[in-house]
Symmetry: C2
Subunit: 153 residues, 2 copies
């Protein structure tokens, strides 16, 4: 494996890290004070894949430790954006339901981003963005698949 491979991977992952940082900062600035991208992401996920997920399912979906998800869900619950109810099929577990307030919060957040997306979309052609998707998906799948193989300790 030539060094250029490592260089290329570093370069891609470095760009990814900067993009994530900038996008997160921009988005967070649009959310009501006290809310983070993590809160929105959970609400958005519950809409996309349907609510009634368990905390552990959510933690896996976002690749965060379950303690982090407990914390994030606690914030959402205190704000009445989700409700946690016992899981009738498993006494250890719970299910997370989004409330009407939660749905409204998500929709307002998305609407609030409209002008930002519009400004950015004027700077990056739609084809450029669309062309990124397959490569990013392939990269994400590779990293995800590799996660199961810790390799050398």
């Amino acid at each position: 494996m030539p060094d250029t491979t490592t260089d290329l991977w570093f370069r891609v992952l470095n760009e990814v890290a900067i993009i994530d940082q900038l996008a997160r900062a921009l988005f967070e600035a649009r959310l009501p004070s006290g809310f983070l991208v993590s809160h929105f992401s959970v609400l958005n996920h519950l809409i996309r894949v349907g609510d009634g997920r368990t905390p552990l399912e959510l933690a896996r979906a976002f690749q965060v430790p379950k303690t982090t998800m407990t914390h994030t869900l606690g914030g959402l619950e205190r704000a009445h954006l989700v409700e946690m109810r016992p899981n009738p099929e498993d006494g250890r577990s719970k299910r997370v339901w989004i409330t009407e307030e939660g749905r409204a919060f998500r929709e307002e957040a998305i609407a609030g981003l409209g002008p930002d997306v519009a400004r950015l979309a004027a700077l990056v052609p739609e084809e450029t963005m669309a062309a990124l998707v397959p490569g990013l998906e392939a990269l994400r799948r590779a990293l995800d698949a590799d996660r199961d193989r810790p390799g050398p300790p």
Copy 2:
């Protein structure tokens, strides 16, 4: 602006967030206990662009608040991986110099990643990775340029 534009941006930024999370976790697991990607990134930056940068320059390069950079540099300094010396040209400021230990730390970290990159490179064709670079750069530049225009408060 059609909704599909917002959807596309969400999709790209979501993939970016997951990739960053997975890559960071993988990398951090290879670093000596107590060190984070942020520490490595600073060392790597000092090698790439040359040391003698000021803390503020570094904060800007990584798009983090200067207080965060102060903290990160503190960790590097305690571990003797960098030295902070006064800036003779500006009494308010300092300059950051990488030590021999710092150089060695960086090289070992990169070497330690070798097997990981090799495994991942087997899963994602080099062309796929290379093809991502221009689009990611364009996206990063757009986000960076937009940062100066807060838009609607």
